[in-house]
């Protein structure tokens, strides 16, 4: 585990769709050590240490050998709104890479299931996978799927669902996911299936239940309100299935879906 707390320069901070941005930083040590599913804590206002006080956890969209590291984020509040106004050349405090990632088996056929901006860490995973894999992506509308073109070049098995049918089939990810599972259980991939998912809590809960039904292992990338990102404050608690809490920043963000109490309030 190598983590770095550095001031990194913004190379690009581009709007991809309404309220959705891609932030590219130059942070060679972090980029080199990053694994799919890990995240970084980013100061949204450069080196300011007062307001907003806390750094934001952002999962890694891409990390490349050239030292560039990318994040997708949507404007959800004041912090991300300030972040969206930062310009090329600005310095950002960034701490990472943090947490436990997806982990990748040697002989698996993964199905990547993403909801909206939650597809971001799956993109990094897709780029690093060396085995064949499927991708099932869902969102309310086409504009919430800005990373979609990146997936097209990485896999031939890409299924898309949007609630307004602006792209792909109408509805949510569960229907195409089940279709893909049924198809794959009749193929050579049967017995090697694993699901990696990231998205809104209700979506991941539904994916978990499908995995239970089909007897497929499921790894979920969790999100929580977080202060430190390094296991110091214990703020990012999520209820475990067997009682007690796990902490997204150090036990996750990626955990087995069976570990979670999916009926807990979040």
């Amino acid at each position: 585990m190598s983590r770095f707390d550095v001031d990194a320069r913004i190379l690009r901070n581009e709007g991809l769709a309404r309220n959705i941005f891609r932030l590219t930083l130059s942070a060679p040590e972090i980029a080199k050590n990053a694994r799919p599913g890990q995240f970084c804590m980013i100061s949204v206002d450069g080196k300011s240490r007062f307001d907003p006080l806390l750094r934001r956890p952002l999962s890694i969209f891409d990390a490349r050998k050239d030292g560039e590291i990318e994040f997708l984020y949507s404007i959800v509040g004041r912090g991300t709104d300030i972040l969206s106004q930062k310009k090329e050349g600005d310095l950002m405090g960034i701490l990472g890479p943090l947490g436990k990632g997806f982990g990748m088996g040697q002989c698996e056929h993964p199905i990547l299931v993403g909801g909206g901006i939650g597809a971001a860490p799956l993109h990094f995973l897709a780029k690093r996978l060396k085995t064949a894999f499927s991708v099932v992506i869902g969102a309310k509308t086409r504009d919430e799927l800005p990373g979609i073109s990146a997936f097209k070049s990485l896999t031939t098995r890409l299924l898309i669902a949007t609630e307004d049918e602006s792209i792909g089939c109408k509805g949510v990810v569960t229907a195409p996911l089940e279709e893909e599972l049924v198809a794959l259980t009749k193929s050579d991939a049967a017995g090697y299936l694993i699901i990696y998912t990231c998205g809104p809590w209700p979506m991941m809960r539904a994916v978990h239940h499908i995995c239970v039904k089909y007897g497929v292992r499921c790894r979920v990338s969790l999100e929580a309100r977080m202060a430190c990102g390094i296991g110091a404050c214990l703020g990012c608690a999520v209820k475990k299935a067997d009682g007690g809490y796990l902490h997204v920043c150090k036990d996750g963000p990626v955990v087995d879906s069976a570990e979670i109490d999916w009926e807990a309030e979040v």
Binding site: D51, C233, K239
Partner: protein, 309 residues
Amino acid sequence: MAKTSHGPDLHVDLAGLRLKNPVLLASGTCGYGVEISDLVDLNMLGGIVVKGLSLTPRPGNPPPRIVETPCGVLNSIGLENIGIDAFARDKLPLLKGFNTKVIANIFGETVDEYAALARKIDRIDGISAIEVNISCPNVKAGGAAFGANPEAAAAVTRAVRAGTGLPVIVKLSPNVTDIVEIATAVEAAGADAVSLINTLLGMSIDVKKRRPALKNVFGGLSGPAIKPVALRMVWQAAGTLKIPVIGIGGITTPEDAIEFLMAGAVAIEVGAATLVRPAAAIEVISGIKDYMEANRLQNTAELPIPRAS
């Protein structure tokens, strides 16, 4: 002690403890130290006050536990911790490898629990002092209930005092009418030092979800937002007590720390700032040193400012 340079001497004597500098990490913001030791050189610190420990493990409060507020953060962790035995077995051996003072923060639901913790810690090698948390706003039993009442605060202090030969630091709650009354009571009951302030009781509402932002409804406010309140209370306590005062509350920059030392604090604790930037306390130490050099101060004892009589 032979000194080769003429730089300022940052060491402080705190209730019988010799700290290499007046900067400690505050309980609850640095885990058990080992979690952050790759990001903060613990050897540089005056000391580290570990996450509040209870006799048996506590799971903590249901989420959400954290919400950001202007220049601050509200938390309702609920004293989640692994318990004193697991701390001594799994964390302390690693922590002892660092050249810094380890202070155990303790929490009990009853006076007897505090006393039992003190007796246990007294037998554990590697802990230099006890900070007694009578001020946590996030638990139903114990905690702030002791800190808000002079007699109850004194009872806890006496029980801990009787159970250990280690220095006893009592951490005070700001959620009281008169901080001096409580501070005076714990001093009379045998405390070797007081540390203040713990978090201010606060609340935030999520207007989108139309519910309190924290599951526990109330939480403890920390961060730069509380610094003026903390500084005022430290000034009051330091002006009254004979025992040393440790200043806590929103210390983020070296200037913040110097304000507390000028107000009469013998040492300070860096809290929420560590969550934002793990090495914040290290920057505070070097900034204090720079300030003392620039102002030709030899010792931190020269920092307190005069009080109008």
